[in-house]
């Protein structure tokens, strides 16, 4: 469903992605691991064009999104993104956070968008928080709202950039549970995460990135128990 060919990304002199090629199938959950600075976020951000690839191509559902003629906003509607620091809109209520893009971008009626937003909030267990502002939510609740907000656009793929790493430990579980539900409902997901438990339980495939390339990939079993490359082993020994 997503084909990535020879993806390069440079920031001035600094080459961050050095030729990434990978296919992601529909309904697949791909976890990306790797040391800090290896280019994981940049890789994810290229998939919804928050960063413009320097070269290479990305094809989502047969549509070549790296084409110059493509409407970037349309692409972004198809790929939902969840950030490490939530990035909820602080001047909007939870309900408005979720219903806003469908109203303004998809041109849904307010009633329809709010009905869907209520459903999504119920799905992430926050129906009772519909009318509060983000400042009144805990970190875990914020991230669940952020997931609902991304889902409201009916994306074809969901991208998660370390969605639990800014959370207190006791809140990690509630967010992972929502993500797990999502995976089981068949959502295609690319997740940058160091939650090995999640990767093992929910992930179909794990990519290990280092220094701008995919060093090794395989099932969670393969990577966590039988890594072949020294760099992978070294990294895993540090975080496990």
């Amino acid at each position: 469903m997503i084909e990535i060919r020879d993806l390069y990304k440079r920031f001035g002199e600094l080459e961050v992605l050095k030729g990434i090629s990978v296919d992601i199938k529909e309904n697949e959950v791909v976890c990306v691991i790797g040391p800090s600075g290896s280019g994981k976020s940049t890789f994810l951000r290229c998939i919804n064009l928050l960063e413009k690839p320097s070269s290479g191509e990305i094809i989502i559902d047969g549509e070549k999104i790296t084409d110059k003629k493509i409407n970037i906003n349309k692409i972004r509607e198809e790929a939902g993104m969840v950030f490490q620091h939530f990035n909820l809109f602080p001047h909007k209520t939870t309900l408005q956070n979720v219903s806003m893009a469908p109203i303004k971008v998809r041109k849904l009626s307010k009633e329809e968008a709010e009905k869907r937003a209520h459903n999504l909030l119920t799905k992430v267990g926050l129906e009772d928080k519909a009318n509060v502002y983000p400042s009144a939510l805990s970190g875990g609740q914020k991230q669940r709202v952020a997931i609902a907000r991304a889902l409201a656009m009916h994306p074809k793929v969901m991208l998660f950039d370390e969605p639990t790493s800014a959370l207190d430990p006791e809140m990690v579980g509630e967010v992972l549970a929502v993500m797990k539900d999502l995976a089981q409902a068949g959502m295609t997901m690319v997740v940058v995460t160091h939650e090995m438990g999640f990767a093992k339980e929910v992930g179909d495939r794990v990519l290990f990135m280092d220094d701008g390339v995919i060093v090794e990939q395989g099932t969670p079993e393969d990577i966590f128990s039988n890594a072949r490359h020294e760099r992978t082993k070294l990294f895993l020994s540090k975080i496990l």
Binding site: F89, K104, R106
Partner: protein, 199 residues
């Protein structure tokens, strides 16, 4: 005046942040010129300068309404200061806000209007209030082109009664009263708008 200044300031503040040079450079020139020259000079330049140019060019004399001239100059002047306040406000908003908006498929304009500007405006209410107070006080300079603002009216009154001290004190107190009212309005709107995004 505060209203026109706010519109002008928002437009040129946004312009200065624009990636396009055709928007950015005129805004930078405008902001730097206004902030780098005294308001008194701007008032005289606009009022006498323009009518002078007009009569040199056409031979006819041009009578600009001093009040209108005063409103225009003060708006242009405060617009430049407000532009810098607006720009600072926009830049103080976390970059993640724009990214989140863009990742939801909003285009840059929509994201700016719905996400960035509302947050920036809440944050810049206090400096905007200061700017309005400065503008109010600076309007006393309009006396030089004969606008009957507060100070000029006081002076006229003195010329009839010769009671300089009491009249100037009264003028000062009236300015004080007006600035206090503005501060109160600012504090009130800060409280009203601040409730939703206290972090």
């Amino acid at each position: 005046m505060p209203f026109f200044g706010l519109i002008l300031g928002t437009i040129s503040g946004l312009g200065k942040l624009s990636r396009k040079k055709i928007f950015r450079y005129p805004c930078i020139v405008y902001i730097d010129f206004i902030r780098g020259t005294p308001l008194l000079v701007q008032i005289l330049l606009f009022y006498y300068g323009i009518s002078g140019l007009y009569s040199n060019a056409t031979g006819n004399s041009l009578q600009i309404d001093p009040i209108l001239a005063g409103i225009i100059v003060c708006s242009i002047n405060s617009g430049a200061y407000i532009a810098e306040i607006v720009r600072g406000g926009i830049q103080s908003i976390d970059k993640g806000q724009m990214e989140a908006a863009r990742s939801l498929g909003m285009n840059e304009r929509l994201a700016m209007r719905e996400i960035i500007l509302p947050q920036a405006f809440r944050r810049i209410i206090p400096p905007l209030g200061n700017e309005f107070i400065a503008l109010l006080k600076d309007s006393s300079l309009l006396a030089v082109i004969g606008v009957h603002e507060l100070l000029k009216s006081g002076q006229l009154y003195i010329s009839r009664t010769f009671a300089a001290f009491p009249v100037y004190i009264a003028v000062a107190l009236m300015y004080l009263l007006m600035t206090i009212v503005i501060s109160r309005i600012v504090a009130y709107s800060e409280r009203r708008l601040g409730v939703s995004d206290r972090n």
